[in-house]
Amino acid sequence: MARAITTQKKVMWTALAWAFGLTMFFPILWTFRTSFKTEAAAISDPPVWFFFDWTLENYVDVQARSNYPKALMNSIIISVGSTFLGILIAVPAAWSMAFVPGRKTKDVLLWMLSTKMLPAVGVLYPLVLLAKWLGVMDSRILLVVVLMLINLPIIVWMLYTYFREIPGEILEAARMDGAGLKAEILYVLTPMALPGIASTVLLNIILAWNEAFWTILLTTVNAAPLTSFSAPEGLFYAKLSAASMMAIAPILVMGWFSQKQLVRGLTFGAVK
């Protein structure tokens, strides 16, 4: 039974919600707008809102500085690489915990989650030392491995909650119909598991892209991703804004597409 809602009430509610929404979004909007200003216009007092000469020169400038494409490449390689490496290790684990649960399964899951709470500084120096000793300091492979490790518990958990929803009977039915192991995996399980794996991948790329402890402290020049790229901009507001927009735009778009999965993914299926 839907209640009749007066138009007046709806209009008021709309205005209020939009006001809050725009307030939350305002810093991003402001940054976006500043990125199209000249440096002089960016710090003009009082600030100019929208009627200024829009320019693309900041984007050109930031692109031209040699390290932007490199930082972008690093971000892509590190976030995508660590996510896929994590998936590779997590899929079998989550799979067996979901379909062949033992007495210890829940303990293992909770233990994995608790490793996520290990304070990163507690292992900071040994990691720097090990990285130097192995000669991988400031390399992409180091960050791929480290980010994979810090996100692995989340990947396992997310996959586990997705896999648990696949009914086990369907496997038995397939077997009864004479499907071999290969057919079972290829035609029955994969199609059912794929959506869950896809949203796990998406969310973990976002998390890895924005990770800022290890990416700042374990890189200097070669492997530095976008998280440390925009740091030395100083007071050049327009350039800072352009660099910021370029750093967040890809993930912002990805994030908007994944907002539905975000809730169930990050709450490990506890909230759907």
């Binding site: 600030p47 997590a90 067996s96 608790s114 709470m117 292992v123 990050l266």
Partner: protein
Amino acid sequence: MSTARSKSAARLMIAPAVFVLLVWMLIPLCMTLYFSFADYRPMRGIFEAWIGFDNYASFVTSSSFLKSLFTILWMVGGILAITITGGVLMALLLDGPMFGQGIVRILVIAPFFVMPTVSALVWKNMFFNVDNGLFSYAYKFFGAQPFDFLSQAPLFSIIMIVAWQWLPFATLILLTAVQSLDSEQLEAAEMDGAPALSRFRFIILPHLSRAITVVILIQTIFLLSIFAEIFVTTNGAFGTRTLTYLVYQRVLESQNIGLGSAGGIVAVILANIVAIFLMRIVGKNLDN
């Protein structure tokens, strides 16, 4: 239908994940433990493998340790308070009748996807900056003296930045929970004459309790190790040095590895206490 064979296969499948996580936890942690009992200052060429609990004693008794504990408690507490209260209100707002709900959702969720360094830089330079920041313009516009947020109210400023990043997360999760509320129950209560406030107090809030627990848990996990926002804005100055940051400074800035490692172990122990507490809640919540 789990046979002995499928069981051992299952163990084999979990093994890689368990193994890498164990190695990841144990090797560096043992090294930190080892260093924490040593006087190790590489910049001065000092290395003495065993000095007992001296590092722990001087770390725990230093005034910066207690301060850093209070700082992180204030920070996490403040951020949780803002994001949960704000999140509940925003969720109720977004659940209401309106035009363009999808777009408002997109606007609200956006800050969550901004990387911590970028959001800290944007807030620091374009909003908090005392000369050219937007807040200063606003102060001047109303004829007030501009306020230097990051040096006058640094803790508040950082709380604000981080709360801005996490409010969308809380909102989104609580909105999902609000939407699963049975609307007939609410309507029945309304017809029976229950005022809006008691409908909220006795129907909506209990329904949200599970989601709120989850939000607290997940945010605490991420917030206890806040780093980039402090690194970019105050670099630990003006009383914004959290435990994580204090240890980072001891280890990498002053290169006192022994002292820093002792601090790291203390941080690990404290985090474990929080973890045990939180795991109980999650474990309970997962059972039903």
